[in-house]
Amino acid sequence: MVIATLTRPNRSPMIPNTPAITPELVAQHGLKPDEYQRILDLIGREPTLTELGIFSAMWNEHCSYKSSRIHLKGLPTKAPWVIQGPGENAGVIDVGDGIAVVFKMESHNHPSFIEPYQGAATGVGGILRDVFTMGARPIATLNALRFGDPNHPKTRHLISGVVSGIGGYGNAFGVPTVGGQVGFHTRYDGNILVNAMAVGICRTDGIFYAKATGVGNPIVYLGSKTGRDGIHGATMASAEFDEGSDEKRPTVQVGDPFAEKLLLEATLELMQTGSVIAIQDMGAAGLTSSAVEMGAKGDLGVRLDLDNVPTREAAMTAYEMMLSESQERMLMVLDPKKKDIAEAVFRKWGLDFAVVGHTTDDLKFRIWHQGQEMAVLPIKELGDQAPLYDRPWVETPKRAVLDAANVPAPKSLTDVLKALIGSPELSSKRWVYEQYDHLILGNTVQRPGGDAAVVRIEDGPKGLALTCDVTPRYCEADPFEGGKQAVAEAWRNITAVGGRPLAITDNLNFGNPERPEIMGQFVQCLKGIGAACSALDFPVVSGNVSLYNETQGRGILPTPTIGGVGVLDDVAKSATLSFKAEGEAVILLGE
């Protein structure tokens, strides 16, 4: 029997930091030969193992958006009410009266397929952190889920694990899960989609950003300890599954909503003390991307001393610490004069607090461990010089328009109706949303089951209308029109409850971008989304891209999930979909 020893010195055996960097090692890090050449050109020497790990984390699809970046640039992201567009932990809009709404959607597709409960749970945890790192208290979450054929042997297990994982995390954290989508199609048999969206509110003058300022300021680690969780998880999320992946499954993280709830309260309390200069959530590629981002955004260097990183396991190497994806952690740059106040807040909440480095003026990312410099890299280039691909793409061939005359009329309309309302796609989703606490915080004006959820802001009268939409089969048939339609549906769902649509977040789930047909779907969907957003003055303020959702060469249906946010000036005036009385007129609007 093996039992973990929990108190142990953090001394690592010196695993060599400078092994020969073989092509195999490069490939294992998900880097292509030309990408490795780029590294050599950039630093003018062979990287150390830790450095190779850092590059693999920063330059994978997940972090660098290397296949999608140039296309994302085409999206409209501005409007007078947009405070922060894409590029921060989450997008921010102004809804008046000094109130800002912070929101984002993110996928946790691959981990949820491997370990549905924990994969989905940590997905919710990650997106909540994105929102409260910006200073906002989360007031609602939504989720868009896609599963395979209901009769596929794995589907039942996956849906039950994912739904209880989402509930398990959100319910314990204490945020209402007010809406979402559940869909089924055989093309998701081997690649389910778990997209989670979180929405928070704060004062417009109380928003926190990732940009570090000031030289010599302490960099502080907060939250749970670092373990060997998901080392290379970020790389995994960008690698297509193959048949053997059931066997060589990497570790997934276990979520701790309890720790996250403490982290929320401690972080918001800390922000009140005026000691936070910059803050960044440690998501995928944890310590690496959070530290690099804070430094690069502020035109500063960063030095980390890994001996001070709180660890859960013995003998963790620099490489492992830099790549760990342990959950419920954050990195902050603090005002040195207020460090003690900050530390007291964290101790009160029983969380780890450690100064793990400081900002410098040399624009280098330096990693020290046990008296050795394990990595020294140019900090801005780590992000700016990431590979950027304009991948070849082909347009999805237009399908012939079906002639209604050639479609046989159904014998019984009643049977058609029954088949429709009985289909998994359209049937009631009560089984799902009853497992989510959608009433906590006492502001849920419209519960799940309607067009969009309506959540009151504090004591009102203002409220938010929230929805998640996309119809993947439209996107498959005509990516441009499908992308447009998803945005339009979100818009309609918000207006249907009486909301004024303001902005969206998106979660673009596609197959392997190295295949021109898939890249074509991506490009065209994005154009459709952009066209609809421009036409409706409904900008994109945050989002996430999940590519390589493909098993054995078969991709998912193109699924650009749209999360829409609108405002209601008076929630008492929101409209619901039920008929209110007998004898009322029914009016059909539109064509």
Partner: protein, 80 residues
């Protein structure tokens, strides 16, 4: 036949429950506790008397349902 399956989290996996219990034991005055990990136990009642078959069956049950081997390990004990 009776059998017991013990499923525990792999050592490298975070065990939030164990951590919370450890903290609580300490604050209840049990100072000498250096670590707690929580796991699950399944007590199975099986038909038949073929021990070897039972063992193979239980292993299959663990792989398919009782444990998620991504994060958990399991051990099977068959009674007498």
């Amino acid at each position: 036949m009776k059998a017991r399956v013990i499923v525990t989290l792999k050592t490298s996996v975070l065990d939030p429950q164990g951590k919370a219990i450890e903290g609580s034991l300490k604050s209840l005055g049990f100072g000498g506790v250096a670590g707690v990990r929580q796991g699950k136990v399944f007590d199975l009642e099986l038909e038949g008397t073929d021990k070897a078959k039972a063992e193979a069956d239980i292993k299959a049950m663990c792989e398919k349902l009782l444990a998620n081997t991504v994060i958990e390990s399991y051990r099977v004990e068959i009674a007498g």
